[in-house]
């Protein structure tokens, strides 16, 4: 097999036909100085760029298919946080060498997921250097309807999708080379984040603020609180934790990772209490769990309510669940 070693050959062999634009806005894709996009009438565009570096964001030696699913899933999660419809993306790949097996696994999985999510690769750059991938995703929203971080109000209920802490658990099993019954599930959660795009469209009519959980629940909720100039009271008993994580590390550790473990790529969002019944109705047939974990307060800061007491917690400083009050 002849493997292309130049930039044009790499693009032709691996990146020339990835995904499709479900919104029909791509006029000209890979192959000219720029891609050309015809924005749909009466739509705003939302854009987000993310970088992943080998050894920082995924372990050295991670197979190409796992890097592809993590990269695209995490990036599209930012579009979900804005309640946008994905349309197209660009990709800058820096490679130390031309490893045909890695590249084929990467581009094959990227193409599968791009088709699944209805996004088309319209442009990119391939360069030589330490393995680094930058992806920019683009989506469309109704003008002025993008879901921001800044709209939470006192009394709003705080919700999260799915379960939290799994990705952190998966990373631990990788770093410590742990094997066992729960490991495949947890590693899948680390490598294959599912952007909550459908859920986002269902909650958007009711939500006042939203973010995707990339830095950890406390840190990301704090971004909402900062942008909205409010505080939050959380009920740790309500944190959604998977059976797999619970059985592997127990209640205390799973709660800690649910609060601070990053890269779950679930959504955290707020809804006025009065709209909670409508939210429940909108989600009645939806397959992704949505859990109320607390509510917005006027008092700045994040507080945990537990055993009839209230403890303040630092967004990034939640180091151990039993260190109540010391964070």
């Amino acid at each position: 097999m002849t493997v292309a070693t130049d930039e044009f050959g790499l693009i032709r062999d691996y990146f020339s036909d990835i995904g499709s634009d479900s919104t029909g806005s791509v006029r000209l894709s890979v192959g000219d100085d720029c891609a050309v996009i015809a924005p749909p009438s009466n739509r705003d565009m939302v854009v987000s760029i993310d970088t992943m570096v080998e050894g920082t964001h995924f372990p050295v030696g991670t197979p190409g298919d796992r890097v592809a699913s993590r990269l695209l899933g995490a990036a599209l999660s930012d579009l979900a946080a804005m309640a946008a419809t994905p349309a197209f993306f660009t990709l800058a790949v820096t490679l130390p060498d031309t490893n045909a097996i890695w590249l084929r696994a990467f581009s094959t999985r990227l193409a599968e997921l791009a088709r699944l999510y209805g996004v088309q690769l319209v442009g990119g750059d391939t360069t030589r250097g330490p393995l680094t991938l930058s992806i920019q995703v683009h989506g469309w929203t109704v003008p002025d309807k993008a879901l921001l971080r800044s709209g939470a109000r006192p009394g709003d209920r705080i919700f999260v999708t799915g379960t939290l802490g799994d990705s952190r658990g998966g990373l631990e099993t990788l770093l410590k080379d742990i094997h066992g019954e729960q490991v495949p599930f947890l590693q899948h959660r680390f490598f294959c984040p599912e952007p909550r795009l459908d859920t986002a469209l269902l909650i958007a009519p009711f939500a006042t603020a939203a973010i995707d959980i990339s830095d950890g629940l406390l840190a990301d909720l704090n971004h909402i609180l900062d942008a909205s100039q409010v505080g939050a009271m959380l009920n740790p008993d309500e944190l959604p934790v998977s059976d797999e994580l619970y059985h592997w590390v127990g209640e205390e550790q799973s709660r800690q990772w649910a609060l601070t473990g990053g890269e779950d790529f679930e959504l955290c969002f707020t809804v006025p209490a009065l709209l909670e019944p409508k939210l429940a109705w909108a989600l009645r047939d939806h397959s992704v769990a949505v859990t109320c974990i607390g509510q917005i307060s006027a008092t700045p800061g994040i507080f945990l309510a537990e055993d009839g007491q209230i403890w303040p917690v630092a967004p990034q400083g939640y180091n151990h669940f039993s260190d109540k009050g010391s964070a």
Copy 2:
């Protein structure tokens, strides 16, 4: 001085207020999960992503201001090649450490140039790893009026802007640590490419195809030829070479670098012979030189006409100017 070491601090300290969107389309900039853009009515968007890696695209230890001018200049050159009006950009920066002097020089120069060219930084990502920068630039064109590579026709005249080979000369002076009268000019051409945005808008009504010269004149002209399914005849005597380059390396070497030295970020474009007078009139008060260097032919391939003879030349294989016919 306190230097931020976390991602949010870096963005706040160095990247929170860079440039301005001369087209008024930015609804929401840095600070949420995505930036929000309101596309102007009746405009197509063009996008291009470029990566630069320390040690590959610029020498290790290059100061931040020089990296900034090279990065933004080269990226905007892709918008010039489409005859687009620049609007906004995103930036993904991977840094080995938090070097405040380097970062301040980088962000200050980036802000200066972003204001000059009327582009706003709307989003980004900062990660830890080997120094790598990915920039995506976005511009607007009249629908179906983006200048492509695919429209050149036999008989069209081939033009280039500015002078060629200077950037390659500048790189040589860096790599070989050469000093002398011509060095500042040549290194400036390497580190501070000037995107030919204004020239592009002047030539767009007449041009049938265009590209910016990043890989070298022969390689990039060949992209036009491939896309347009035509060939080209060049007159080496007409290649525009700067006095500085000519005086430093002489006729033969300067011609070779003009043909194959990359990263001049000048434009190469084609215009029907009948429109040449109109082109000349449109450029009558323009400060950037535009030179006719040959014409498009129906015969595939690139040929050089010299001393009454015609020599074929390989797009990438032009290794020595005197190796006539052997390339």
